[in-house]
């Protein structure tokens, strides 16, 4: 089953709620991890590891540095997931 933007966004929301304790309602594609969601560089590592496990996708470190917004992460996972 191919990953869709909707399912990945829902999964990322769950992870960010767990890691940063942010209200799921404010998590959206255009939100920035650091500025909007209290996910600092350390917590971003937690988000990435959890996302890799959840979606069975490898996210290289050089890609992580480019993921400023939730949408960046969702789109990468959809494009590279199985």
């Amino acid at each position: 089953m191919a990953l869709t933007v909707e399912t990945v966004l829902e999964g990322i929301k769950e992870i960010v709620v767990e890691v940063a304790g942010i209200d799921a309602g404010i998590i959206a594609m255009d939100k920035k991890f650091t500025d909007d969601l209290d996910v600092d560089s350390l917590s971003m590592v937690e988000v990435v590891v959890a996302a890799e496990e959840k979606f069975g996708v490898k996210i290289p470190d050089e890609e992580v540095t480019k993921m400023a917004t939730v949408g960046d992460a969702v789109n990468f996972i959809v494009a590279n997931g199985k």
């Binding site: 890691v19 940063a20 304790g21 350390l42 917590s43 590592v45 937690e46 590891v49």
Partner: protein, 413 residues
């Protein structure tokens, strides 16, 4: 130039006796024990099956997400410092004049061991990125410093079970030396885990009174057989006297002096002659520069080990001479257990409250006083201390041969 004077204007704690200062003090005066059988699975087959866990779990007062980024020792530091800062009236201060000195004896040992389990079971990729900030011994001080935006300096003296007292001494000097006007100081420990407990047990340092945990910590009793591990922490707000007066702060007591020495004797055993302790007391009294007749109370280190309690009592008697006769000695570890790096901090709080309320807390569990103990021990019930200007000592010693003695005095305005 006259020396800058330092007073205590705020207190905070989370201990085996209570989740804050007032509940802890109340239980202390009531002679309650905070020592209990451990519920943890690992403890059921351990050689020591009890300890003194905090009375109020951090999860009852802290958000889940904050907790997962903090080691348990850091959680204790945040809880105690928030109470202390609020108690001090959340003072407005230039952050470059605000310091933090909070100690820990062992640091984030539980985080280190938990993450080692993650490494072995799941692999390196799954080791938390928060591991290092959580296990570093300066983590409690650093997190408190960050929350308060302290910029005069954030420090962490490490001297095993003397750490909390050494932190208070460092804080005193920071204000005396005009590096800061307020310093938030204390000590914390969270080491109730099978590895550190096994290590202490291997040293034969822990009481093995598994059939009666509440009676296990019994300083000065003939049948004492070791210390009881406790957890938690205490934080005090130290403030320059004129700064405190100018903002109308409540003043609990004055911090008069400190004495620091080292034994050069053994890595863990106390020097039976107690010369290092005697010298530390004398240095502290010289630093405090008050009449010996004012010293009416002492919160002893007295951990309930066969060797330590008597060596300490003798050293105190040597240092104070005939003036030991008017000193009411309390061994509060009989109720709290031994908080290691947190001990000197919570016992400093007990000293400050003893000066503020003119009341010495009791020592419990002495069924047969060891005949070798010649000091006047406050037993079972609290004792009223004289009215007027009074002073007390808090002594703490740590593995490594560290000796720290602090002097507090009632503040009479």
């Amino acid at each position: 130039m006259t020396r800058r004077r330092v007073v205590v204007t705020g207190l905070g704690a989370t201990t085996p006796l209570g989740g804050d200062v007032s509940s802890t003090w109340e239980a202390l005066l009531a002679g309650k024990s905070g020592v209990r059988k451990l519920e943890d699975e690992w403890a059921q087959s351990a050689s020591v099956t009890f300890a003194a866990r905090v009375a109020v779990e951090p999860s009852e007062v802290m958000e889940r997400v904050e907790m997962r980024r903090l080691d348990r020792s850091e959680q204790f530091a945040m809880i105690a410092s928030r109470e202390a800062w609020k108690d001090a009236g959340s003072p407005e201060i230039d952050k470059e004049r605000l310091g933090v000195v909070i100690a820990s004896g062992i640091g984030g040992v539980i985080t280190m061991l938990d993450q080692y389990d993650v490494l072995k079971e799941k692999g390196a990729r799954f080791v938390s990125p928060h591991t290092v900030p959580m296990l570093m011994p300066n983590g409690p001080a650093a997190n408190v410093g960050l929350e308060l935006q302290a910029r005069a300096g954030v420090h962490t003296p490490v001297s095993a079970c003397a750490s909390g007292a050494e932190a208070a001494g460092y804080a005193l000097e920071m204000i005396r030396n005009n590096r800061a006007d307020i310093v938030v100081t204390g000590g914390v420990e969270a080491a109730i885990h099978e590895l550190p407990m096994s290590g202490f047990a291997s040293m034969k340092a822990l009481s093995t009174r598994n059939d009666d945990p509440a009676k296990a910590s019994r300083p000065y009793d003939k049948d004492r057989d070791g210390f009881v591990l406790g957890e938690g922490g205490g934080v005090l707000v130290f403030e320059e006297l004129e700064h405190a007066k100018a903002r109308g702060a409540k003043i609990y007591a004055e911090v008069m002096g400190q004495g620091l020495t080292s034994d050069g004797y053994h890595i863990a055993a106390p020097d039976p002659d107690g010369q290092g302790v005697t010298r530390a007391v004398k240095l502290a009294l010289a630093d405090a520069n008050i009449p010996l007749s004012e010293i009416v109370h002492l919160n002893a280190h007295a951990t309930s080990t066969p060797a330590g309690d008597v060596a300490e009592a003798n050293a105190l008697a040597n240092a104070l001479g005939s003036d030991i006769s008017h000193v009411a000695v309390s061994a509060t570890k009989s109720m709290t257990g031994h908080l290691l790096g947190g001990a000197g901090a919570i016992e400093s709080i007990f000293c400050v409250l003893a000066m503020y309320h003119h009341k010495a807390p009791p020592t419990i569990n002495i069924e047969n006083l060891d005949e070798a103990v010649t000091v006047d021990v406050v037993r079972d019930v609290p004792r009223d201390l004289p009215k007027g200007s009074i002073a007390c000592l808090n002594d703490s010693f740590g593995f490594g041969g560290h000796n720290v003695v602090l002097v507090f005095r009632s503040y009479e305005g």
